[in-house]
């Protein structure tokens, strides 16, 4: 069976079913959930089946439909499947045009899957851009007050990056006279590496995002509906890191080594800047958005260090951030549904009124600050340890970032969960069963990865070693 094609086609079929079924009495959300769960089951099956080695697939002879599932893609594919289902649950009560909302969500899942599974440069680019359209409409139609501005900004920033990436991909296609991606990609001639590297990096670094290119992120994350924020922070940012590892590093190892200090600097700057900005926020969702900048800074730093363990740490960091950020955005969304505000100053003492919500929020904040035993810890620790090799004392700055992370997360918990409960929130209902069900898989994943990071590290191990070898041999 062409399982990889089915993984991409299934959510798309779901999107069509939801879209067509909009006029039928059946509920769009139930259909969407069924498809998302089926996708999750299929991904789980493939994760086990893949134990025998990477899966590849090809449709037709001259076309661009080449797919591969290997250790680099699998953790992110699994993450996408989980978050796809969580996002459907998170938007269970959406009122405005629910069929359109769920159809776009499923289409988005399909496009992201295609990005991670593509083994062809043209297909990769097509999928990369295809992600933009559902996200644009999710933010623009279902978002909050400034949604139109945020949607446009999101689209233009990422489109600008990916347009330059397209030129880089075209140069690559000509240099290797074909659009197939081998694993790892063969290095380009040394003369063209620098140009191609920076063109590709333009697309990836905007998406991650690194420091000067990050300004679309707070707007988009804050204005997006909850499901949109979950997919945006949980999965879309990972496309950038994945692209660096999948394409930029192996295609241009020389240029990558030359650029590594710059990347590391950008990563460190992102860690500290994101944390400081998070500390200064008065809007809870914006705080979570800036914490994303900080956490993705660790991923960029780990990629720049690029030892086998650091690449593993980057992958671990991406999966962990995917789970933690999704959980935080889910919780903020649930709170907003009840209070219609995100202003930290208006909250307080919520644990008394919403014990379940408060408990999960505290748990998520602890995961975000990197508490040992939860998923944030191993990735960031490994990054700092590996980074100490090439960058030595500079690693004090990411360590400072961890301290700041503790500061803004605990600040948020203290202001929101503790203290006196304002009168206006005295009748808020606590989380229902469905809302807990949405949070449960994320929390379980956070604990599992924290206790047993090998879950990701073992899968990515062979690929990390291979990539590090490519870089060493350059």
């Amino acid at each position: 069976m062409p399982w990889l094609t089915i993984i991409i086609a299934l959510p798309l079929a779901g999107a069509c079913a939801v879209g067509i079924g909009a006029r039928l009495p059946m509920r769009a959300r139930a259909v969407a959930l069924a498809f998302a769960l089926l996708e999750l089951a299929l991904t789980g099956y493939l994760a086990i089946a893949r134990a025998a080695g990477p899966l590849t697939e090809r449709l037709g002879s001259g076309g661009v439909w080449r797919l591969r599932l290997d250790g680099l893609a699998l953790p992110l594919v699994a993450l996408t499947a989980v978050l796809g289902a969580v996002a459907v649950l998170a938007s269970w009560r959406v009122e405005r045009a629910p069929a359109g909302h769920f159809a776009l969500l499923l289409a988005l899942t399909s496009a992201v899957m295609a990005v991670f599974l593509a083994a062809d440069l043209v297909l990769f680019y097509v999928a990369w851009e295809a992600v933009l359209i559902p996200m644009y409409f999710l933010i623009g139609v279902w978002g909050h007050e400034h949604r139109r501005h945020a949607a446009m900004k999101f689209f233009l920033y990422t489109f600008a990056g990916s347009a330059l990436m397209l030129v880089g991909l075209l140069l690559t296609i000509f240099a290797q006279s074909g659009s197939a991606m081998s694993a790892p990609a063969r290095a380009l001639p040394t003369g063209t590496q620098t140009l191609v590297f920076w063109l590709l990096a333009a697309g990836f670094l905007v998406k991650i995002p690194v420091l000067p290119l990050h300004t679309w992120l707070p707007d988009a994350h804050v204005e997006a509906p909850t499901a949109g924020s979950i997919m945006l922070a949980g999965v879309l940012l990972k496309m950038g890191g994945y692209g660096m590892l999948r394409l930029a590093l192996p295609l241009a190892p020389h240029a990558f080594r030359a650029a590594a200090p710059v990347l590391a600097g950008l990563g460190i700057a992102g860690i500290v800047y994101g944390a400081l900005m998070a500390l200064a926020q008065t809007d809870l969702k914006r705080l979570v958005a800036y914490s994303s900048v900080s956490h993705m800074g660790f991923v960029v730093l780990a990629i720049a260090v690029a030892t086998p363990a650091a690449i593993g740490a980057a992958m671990l960091g991406m999966v962990s951030h995917g789970l933690v950020a999704a959980l935080l955005f889910l919780l903020v969304g649930q709170l907003y549904d009840r209070t219609h505000t995100r202003e930290i100053a208006r909250f307080g003492g919520l644990t008394a009124q919403l014990p379940r919500w408060g408990a999960v929020f505290t748990f998520a904040a602890l995961a975000s600050l990197g508490l040992p035993g939860l998923s944030g810890f191993p990735g960031e620790l490994l990054t700092v340890l590996e980074g100490a090799g090439p960058y030595g004392a500079w690693m004090a700055l990411p360590a400072l970032g961890v301290v700041l992370a503790a500061a803004y997360n605990l600040y948020a918990v203290r202001r929101v969960n503790h203290g006196p409960l304002p009168d206006e929130w005295e009748t808020l209902p606590d989380l229902g069963r469905l809302e807990l069900a949405a949070a449960a898989p994320l929390a379980a994943g956070v604990v599992a990865l924290g206790v047993w990071p090998a879950l990701v590290l073992a899968v990515t191990g062979p690929v990390s070693a291979m990539l590090a070898r490519v870089l060493g041999g350059a």
Partner: protein
């Protein structure tokens, strides 16, 4: 005398010409509606016949024009597109006096376009180009408003200058080649090095003339007025069919005549075309960003689109006519769809033509809005639409030789989402209740003869959509489906055009 096979290749061309004549006669003796219908049917039949002859090998008919093969495939495409624009404009053309003459002109101009795209002789090239221009002047004026007459006059005066340049260029070439005007003979004479400086003069003259016809910077100034004032379905035709023909003819001219011997270094025109391309992209995009009128925005963006097409041509000796052709075809499709959407929304009747007034269209006319969205995304070059593959091919062919131009092109594409996305935003994201007041300056630009429009958005209108507007929706939907098919399964299209 032509052989039977040559007659067969010529037959669809004669059929579209017959459609034009039928339109004229029907307009005179029957009704404008019948005239429009008969011209549309004849064009559709010509498209079918072209599609049939596309399976035979391309051949030079009568020593002057290429027909069959890929030329017939493109012929089928332009005839079908022209038929679609007539179908969309059927009710508006059919309800005005002598609207059938407009349909006849469309069929005439389509015929000239097919001749132009296969022109293999300088005389045929010039005559076909001028026939298109003549048809164009009349079509722009066909709205019969003061603004339309002004736009047509502007178009005509500038076009006359371009014609002068063109004829002068032809005269120089005629002298250089010792009297030969076939592309073959001309190419051989120039490659042999006949009169280098004079050949360059001829090149610049002809390139300027062609750039005018394409609406490339700095010969673009007629385009916005023309595309804004012509009836929407006619504008859809003008922005698509003649453009494809002129693009393909330009490539054939540059490669066939000025290509030079393969051993020589890059031809002179490569740099010239690259500069025109970059200037068109920069100017068209920046100017389009400032527009409030939907069709004026499309017109300025069309200048940028011509720039992308020229980007594909500027690869010099490594130019791939195929890339330009695919880009041109996919551009024409999406541009026609966007202009036809203006017809279907009801410009001049229910809609004042401003982008902001499209607010609420997504709710009120979901099929039309989705079709328009597909066309606009295709014009932006977003994957999964046909426009992406066109841009991919032209930028790819440029990135091997003129990388800077490819980068200008992709940056231009990003900017273009600023205005194409602006329409999407109005259609889907804007609330209808807060339709803004129109700027006073724009009010005067509403075509005369149309009832004064209250400044309100399309979505705010409570009444049912008139049935003739509903009927004008299907051509847009057909275009959108083609754009999507081209985006998802490009190989099917690419093989059609000889990939």
């Amino acid at each position: 005398m032509l052989s039977l096979k040559e007659w067969l290749l010529l037959a669809p061309l004669l059929l579209s010409l017959a459609g034009a004549l039928a339109g004229l006669v029907a307009d005179a003796f029957l009704s404008p509606r019948t005239a429009t219908r008969s011209a549309a049917v004849a064009l559709a039949a010509a498209a079918g016949l072209f599609a049939y002859t596309a399976f035979s090998r391309a051949a030079v008919v009568g020593g002057v024009v290429l027909l069959g093969g890929v030329y017939a495939a493109v012929g089928a495409f332009v005839c079908a597109l022209a038929a679609l624009t007539l179908a969309a404009g059927e009710s508006s053309l059919g309800s005005r006096p002598h609207g059938g003459q407009v349909a006849a002109l469309v069929a005439f101009t389509t015929t000239a376009s097919v001749v132009l795209l296969g022109a293999f002789d300088l005389t045929v090239f010039v005559v076909a180009l001028e026939l298109i221009a003549l048809g164009g002047y009349a079509l722009v004026a066909s709205a019969r408003t003061a603004r339309a007459y002004e736009a047509a006059m502007k178009y005509f005066v500038q076009g006359a200058v371009a014609t002068g340049l063109l004829v002068y260029g032809v005269a120089v070439l005629f002298g250089l080649s010792g009297g030969a005007l076939g592309f073959d003979a001309l190419g051989r004479a120039l490659a042999a090095g006949a009169g280098k400086p004079a050949a360059t003069v001829a090149l610049v003259l002809m390139l300027s003339a062609v750039a005018f016809k394409l609406g490339a910077f700095p010969f673009h100034s007629w385009a916005p007025d023309a595309y804004e004032t012509a009836p929407p379905s006619v504008a859809a035709f003008l922005a698509s069919v003649p453009k494809v023909a002129a693009l393909l003819a330009t490539v054939l001219l540059l490669v066939g005549v000025f290509g030079g011997a393969p051993s020589q270094r890059e031809p002179v025109w490569a740099l010239l075309v690259a500069i025109i391309a970059a200037a068109s992209i920069a100017f068209g995009n920046l100017a389009a960003l400032r527009q409030e009128s939907f069709r004026r925005m499309l017109a300025y963006s069309g200048i940028a689109q011509v720039g992308y097409a020229l980007t594909g041509m500027s690869a010099g000796s490594r130019v791939q006519p195929f890339a330009v052709l695919v880009f041109g075809v996919f551009y024409a499709l999406a541009a026609a769809g966007a202009f036809l959407a203006a017809e279907a929304v009801g410009e001049g009747e229910e809609w004042d033509g401003r982008i902001a007034s499209l607010a609420g269209l997504g709710r009120r006319r979901p099929v039309l809005a989705a079709s328009l969205a597909v066309c606009l995304l295709s014009l932006t070059g977003i994957p999964l639409t046909a426009g992406f593959w066109g841009k991919l091919l032209v930028f790819a062919s440029a990135s091997t030789t003129v990388l800077w131009l490819a980068i200008v092109g992709v940056v231009g594409s990003v900017v273009s989402f600023g205005y194409y996305g602006g329409v999407l935003r109005a259609v889907y994201l804007d609330e209808t209740a807060e339709a803004p007041e129109p700027a006073p300056a724009r009010v005067e630009e509403i075509p005369e003869g149309s009832p004064a429009l209250a400044a309100r958005s399309v979505g705010a209108m409570a009444a049912d959509v008139p049935s003739e507007r509903r009927r004008a929706t299907w051509p847009v939907a057909v275009v959108a489906i083609l754009v999507l098919v081209g985006g998802v399964a490009p190989l099917f299209f690419l093989r059609l055009f000889g990939g």
